[in-house]
């Protein structure tokens, strides 16, 4: 293994500034990232404490590394991941979108798919770390380019149930509370800031 891994790097925070109503993109080389109502808002980190700043940064980096551009939208009127990702796919110039919930559950969607279907789903939020988010971004970008990426390996842990099942339910309920019915998706711009962790 050699080198030590980065010890607690300066933690980044992110604010999502609203730019206006989300519009349909025309660039075929873009991926839209759609975040849920409470993402980087009521909540600041996923169920396993991955900062939302890091989630976004890694998704964006995965997309950029593939030479694809990204836009971020916030969906306000639902906390249903399939609906969020599907809405974003309709807005995406390439038809590819990544939806992500505050607790970390993530999905890659495509505009022609039925809402309840998806290209890749990462249902086990406790098992998603920065590296997985990077790979999700990268895969989404590769789909946008018409390439066939290897699906990000899904992990499984039998003991995730006793540890995380109830917290996941709680986080979901909180997220549902943040829903603003009837509000259309908005385009947002991330402002990352460095801060001292702990």
């Amino acid at each position: 293994m050699g080198t030590p891994t980065t010890s607690p790097a300066p933690e980044r925070t992110v604010r999502l500034r609203e730019l206006g109503p989300a519009r349909r993109g025309s660039r075929p080389d873009e991926v839209v990232i759609a975040v849920s109502p409470a993402f980087a808002d009521f909540f600041t980190k996923t169920i396993v404490d991955v900062p939302h700043a890091e989630v976004l940064r890694q998704l964006l980096a995965g997309i950029e590394e593939q030479g694809v551009t990204a836009r971020i939208v916030r969906v306000r009127d639902t906390a249903d991941l399939a609906a969020i990702a599907h809405t974003a796919a309709q807005l995406s110039g390439s038809g590819i979108a990544v939806g992500v919930l505050a607790r970390g559950t993530t999905m890659i969607h495509q505009k022609d798919l039925p809402r309840l279907s998806n290209l890749e789903l990462f249902p086990q939020s406790p098992l998603l770390d920065a590296q997985v988010f990077r790979r999700i971004g990268s895969n989404a970008a590769q789909y946008a380019k018409g390439e066939s990426p290897e699906p990000v390996p899904t992990r499984n842990d039998q003991m995730a149930r006793p540890r995380w099942q109830a917290k996941a339910a709680l986080l979901h309920l909180k997220e549902v509370e943040c829903i603003e019915a009837g509000r259309d998706p908005v385009e947002v711009e991330p402002a990352f800031e460095l801060s001292r962790a702990g």
Binding site: T3, Q66, G67, Q110, D112, L113, R134, Y143, S148
Partner: protein, 617 residues
């Protein structure tokens, strides 16, 4: 001479299907075919378990023809010569990099472009070095792309001449996009900590769609590193190994090297026609097949014990012993099994390079061997006895399969003697010939559908026989959207219903059940080329080889008609590949249509009837 038509049924017990052909043989020996049937073979071919399948097929044919079992005069069984085949594969070359001198793994997304030559320095020491000669920055694991970029930018700002970077993570584009002064960046170097520091190194990245020009050129390397002719000779393998890459790193160390080594795998010993020939497996398929041809008819083959070849043949023998022994009574010990034919095929196996820093893969040469034995013939007797008992009808064991098949093939419209058949099976390719005078010969050669599957599996590094089998059976397509695919011939097909999500953007096989994705990063053309090449190397080579053995004087031009039979004769491209190869010999070749209705099926069963009629008293 009987004064009425005799009702007979020919039955062919194959490895997977049992086929029956019911016919009336008139006193003048003319044959009227009445009906056929096909069922699954019960038990291992050539064992008493076959009886049930035979009865099912006979009854089925009778039912279709509206005849009763009591009317039957004879059941004709084939003399099944169970041919069992085995496969093995061995790599015969390996590539070794010493002293971590080269990185040529072709990451999907390198950053920047151009050539940078300088001394390797770790990123952790970049802020300590003074401006001076050019440096190549080596970035260990765990660094965030923004931190890498700002560290390099700070150094450049101080006047340090950073000309390239080598990264552990998949960050090249991210870093390159953030550099104040663009340089080539190579990433995903998993063992980056092994890159020697303080050495002269060259990093080259080509523009998207291009390949590197300098580091893949021996004289380019000589120029970059200022090599003398002797040293230049030494680095030529490095240049060759980097050919075709979009990016590469070469580090100059005192004795760094890339070698392409032959693995001593041992010799193959072939016994036949009164002589024993030895051939080094590492010499490749051509030499081996040459030796096999000289030892015809082959009596047995052995590998030098303790070598890879020994292991390969032992493995083949073990598989065959298992199959032969499956019935319990005939348990063959591996030693007793004599190998009657060997097919060697050159292939390649994508293998990880030893000493590589980034999991570099190299296509290593390998040899695949298919071997074949014929087993005991005695047990058809007991099948015949049981059938006779169940149906109360005389049951006769007819001629050798291949010879019967050729008679069945003659019922294909437009075929005449001299005719040869090629039965393209799973384990072996069988040929038989019937000349103008009615003399017949038959041979079995090793290698058929299963070997094709194995070649596809290993050459595409699939490690999944089911996927390989799918590739073999069906044409390819690329799913370009949820509503259309582009076929391998370039045509586009549209769909009204969206395709399933798991095939999106993938290269797929178009099986009848629907598109199935191939888990590979290779493009459609590459997969297609490997599929066709595997079929050519097995079926086309074997077609020619087997036909030579049955053709008079080994001369293919003595054959007029070749009829393709067996499961692989239904393949979407093998028949035309064989036909193309035989066209040069003036041979008419095509897929059989037995009785004008059965396609490449039922040849043996029909042939049994024909032979019986011809020989009738």
């Amino acid at each position: 001479m009987p004064d009425r038509a005799r009702l007979v049924v020919g039955v062919d017990i194959g490895n997977s299907t049992t086929e029956a052909c019911l016919a009336a043989v008139a006193p003048d020996r003319t044959v009227s075919y009445l009906g056929t049937d096909l069922t699954r073979t019960t038990g291992v071919k050539g064992t008493p378990d076959n009886t049930d399948g035979v009865l099912t097929a006979v009854r089925g044919a009778l039912r279709r023809a509206g005849r009763a079992a009591a009317e039957l005069d004879a059941v004709l069984l084939n003399e099944a010569t169970p041919v069992i085949s085995g496969l093995a594969m061995e790599t015969i070359t390996e590539t070794i990099i010493t002293e971590s001198t080269m990185i040529g793994h072709n990451p999907a997304t390198p950053g920047g472009q151009g050539l940078g030559v300088g001394t390797t320095v770790s990123l952790t020491e970049l802020d300590e070095i003074d401006p001076g000669p050019p440096v190549v920055c080596v970035v260990p694991h765990g660094w965030d792309f923004e931190d890498i970029a700002s560290t390099v930018n700070a150094a450049v700002g101080r006047g340090v001449d950073v000309v390239a970077a080598v990264l552990a993570g998949d960050d090249a584009v991210l870093v390159a996009n953030r550099l104040t002064r663009p340089v080539p960046v190579v990433d995903e170097v998993a063992a980056v900590e092994k890159v020697p520091l303080g050495m002269l190194a060259a990093v080259e990245v080509a523009a998207a769609g291009y390949t590197i020009r300098t580091l893949s050129n021996t004289y380019g390397l000589a120029t970059v590193f200022g090599l003398d002719p002797d040293q230049t000779r030494h680095v030529s393998p490095v240049a060759r190994a980097l050919t075709g890459n979009r990016s590469a790193v070469v580090v100059r160390t005192p004795s760094g090297d890339v070698t392409d080594r032959r693995i001593p795998v041992g010799t193959l010993e072939l016994r036949g026609s009164g002589k024993t020939l030895r051939v080094d497996l590492a010499t490749g398929a051509e030499e081996i097949m040459d030796a096999v041809a000289r030892a015809q008819p082959l009596e047995d083959a052995h590998g030098e014990p303790g070598t890879h070849v020994g292991g390969m043949l032992a493995q083949v023998r073990d598989t065959m012993a298992d199959v032969v022994g499956q019935d319990g009574e005939e348990a063959g010990s591996p030693v007793e099994i004599a190998i009657n034919d060997v097919l060697a095929v050159d292939t390649f196996v994508p293998a990880e390079v030893r000493g590589g820093l980034a999991g570099e893969m190299h296509l290593e040469n390998a040899v695949a061997l298919a071997a074949m034995v014929s087993t005991s013939r005695s047990r058809m007797r007991s099948v015949a006895e049981r059938v006779a008992e169940e149906l109360g009808v005389a049951t006769l064991i007819g001629g050798v399969e291949g010879k019967m098949a050729v008679r069945g093939a003659l019922t294909t419209p437009g075929v005449d003697r001299p005719v040869a058949v090629l039965d393209l099976g799973g384990g072996s390719t069988d040929a038989a010939e019937l000349d103008r005078e009615g003399r017949d010969t038959a041979v079995h050669v090793a290698g058929a559908g299963e070997l094709v599957t194995k070649l596809i599996d290993s050459e595409l590094a699939l490690d999944d026989r089911e996927v390989a089998e799918n590739i073999k059976r069906s044409p390819l397509a690329k799913v370009e959207s949820f509503f259309h695919v582009r076929h391998e011939d370039g045509t586009v097909q549209f769909f009204d219903e969206p395709l399933p999500s798991h095939v999106f953007a993938r290269v797929v096989t178009l099986a009848p059940e629907g598109p199935t994705p191939i888990p590979t990063r290779h493009g459609l053309d590459h997969v297609r080329q490997i599929r066709r090449e595997a079929k050519r190397r097995v079926f086309v080579v074997n077609a020619v080889r087997a036909l030579r053995q049955v053709a008079a004087g080994g001369n293919l031009r003595t054959l007029d008609f070749v009829v393709l039979l067996g499961g692989s004769a239904l393949d979407f491209e093998i028949p035309e590949m064989i036909a193309d190869a035989l066209a040069g010999y003036g041979i008419v070749c095509g897929t059989g249509n037995v009785l004008g209705t059965e396609g490449p099926r039922n040849a043996v069963a029909s042939g049994l009837v024909a032979a019986h009629a011809a020989a009738a008293p």
